[in-house]
């Protein structure tokens, strides 16, 4: 279970963004989780809820958005979703595919709470 390490990286980003925007609190986090990112969304939420205690995101909810594995064939340019871990072009059979999405975890957006005065 490495979800705790992943969540630690997520909090580095949250703190950085809150500082940039002069925010006091983070109230929601949307995280895109690739099917081949190597992490389980439910475990990420559990780890997030453990980690957030006493932080600027104490009240925040982590919303995970599943992202399928999308690839492009370098031979014939066909784009398709891989759902059975067979990395071969469904159109021409070529094995040379570019992975377009589904292997990483991206913070899509966060909701910040700022003091009204500071934002004016």
């Amino acid at each position: 279970m490495h979800e705790m390490s992943l969540v630690a990286g997520l909090f580095e980003i949250l703190e950085e963004k809150a500082r940039e925007h002069g925010a006091r609190r983070v109230t929601a986090v949307r995280l895109r989780v690739g099917r081949l990112a190597g992490a389980v969304p439910e475990l990420l939420v559990t780890a997030f809820d453990m980690y957030k205690k006493g932080t600027l995101a104490e009240e925040a909810a982590l919303i995970t958005v599943p992202v399928p594995v999308l690839v492009r064939c370098r031979a014939c340019d066909e784009k398709f979703e891989v759902d059975d871990y067979v990395f071969q072009c469904v159109a021409c059979g070529a094995p040379d595919l570019e992975i377009l999405s589904g292997t990483d975890m991206l913070v899509e957006s966060i909701e910040l709470e700022t003091d009204e005065d500071a934002s004016l």
Partner: protein, 226 residues
């Protein structure tokens, strides 16, 4: 109080990605091939390393970083072979991260050809963390079963080399090396596959040749390593 949504689009592994890029840059600059060895526990990573030491250059030209949850045992096994070896005890963590490697780089001997990083035995978590390696090798041993590539696809997808290890046991177990190879190639058609026995020496020379080729390709613009 006011709430606002901020678009971010940043990788949650970005600090590891940056640390890995730094390790890769420093090692390539020195002409060192850094290899990240991954497998489940007991697949034979350390035994393979012990045999590689005998095959690869004078032992002083390679170094090993061992990752385990506890104990210094693996590093001691390599030191007994005359190899400079460092042990990272993760104290419970199931994988190594690039920063742990970066901290050790200044301690490495000056003249190195190969740096092997033996990851924590685990086919799941280590696959998500780039350590700054130039070659990722995954081991699958005969007793584990030939059906693992589809069950743990990320490890096989992100590796460049697959070693089917404990080849000496293959005739004794219901392990079909062809099925293992086929499944692994479905997940990653670019994988180079070797069948190796660290006990009998079968396949070792081919694997060693692959390591030399990978090192030669590291810095093609630099004649010293071509």
């Amino acid at each position: 109080m006011k709430r606002k949504d901020v678009a971010v689009y940043e990788d949650i592994l970005k600090s590891n990605v940056a640390a890995a890029a730094e390790v890769r840059r420093r090692m390539r600059e020195r002409g060192v091939l850094t290899v990240n060895l991954m497998s489940s526990p007991g697949a034979g990573k350390t035994t393979l390393l012990e045999r590689l030491v005998e095959k690869l250059t004078p032992p002083g030209r390679l170094a090993v970083i061992e990752g385990d949850i506890e104990t210094e045992r693996d590093a001691e096994r390599l030191r007994a072979k005359g190899v400079p070896a460092w042990q990272i005890q993760t104290g419970g963590a199931c994988h190594l991260e690039a920063r742990m490697i970066g901290r050790l780089l200044d301690e490495l001997p000056p003249d190195l050809d190969f740096l092997f990083i033996e990851n924590v035995g685990n086919l799941v978590c280590p696959a998500a963390f780039d350590l700054g390696e130039s070659l990722r090798v995954v081991l699958l041993s005969a007793p584990e079963g030939d059906d693992k590539p589809k069950k743990y696809p990320k490890a096989f997808l992100t590796a460049q080399v697959l070693v089917l290890s404990k080849a000496d046991l293959m005739g004794l177990l219901p392990f079909d090396p062809e099925r293992a190879r086929r499944e692994a190639l479905e997940v990653n058609p670019a994988l180079e596959v070797f069948r190796v026995s660290a006990l009998t020496g079968e396949g070792l020379d081919d694997f060693v040749a692959c390591l030399h080729r990978a090192r030669a390709k590291l810095t093609p613009e630099d004649g010293r390593h071509a």
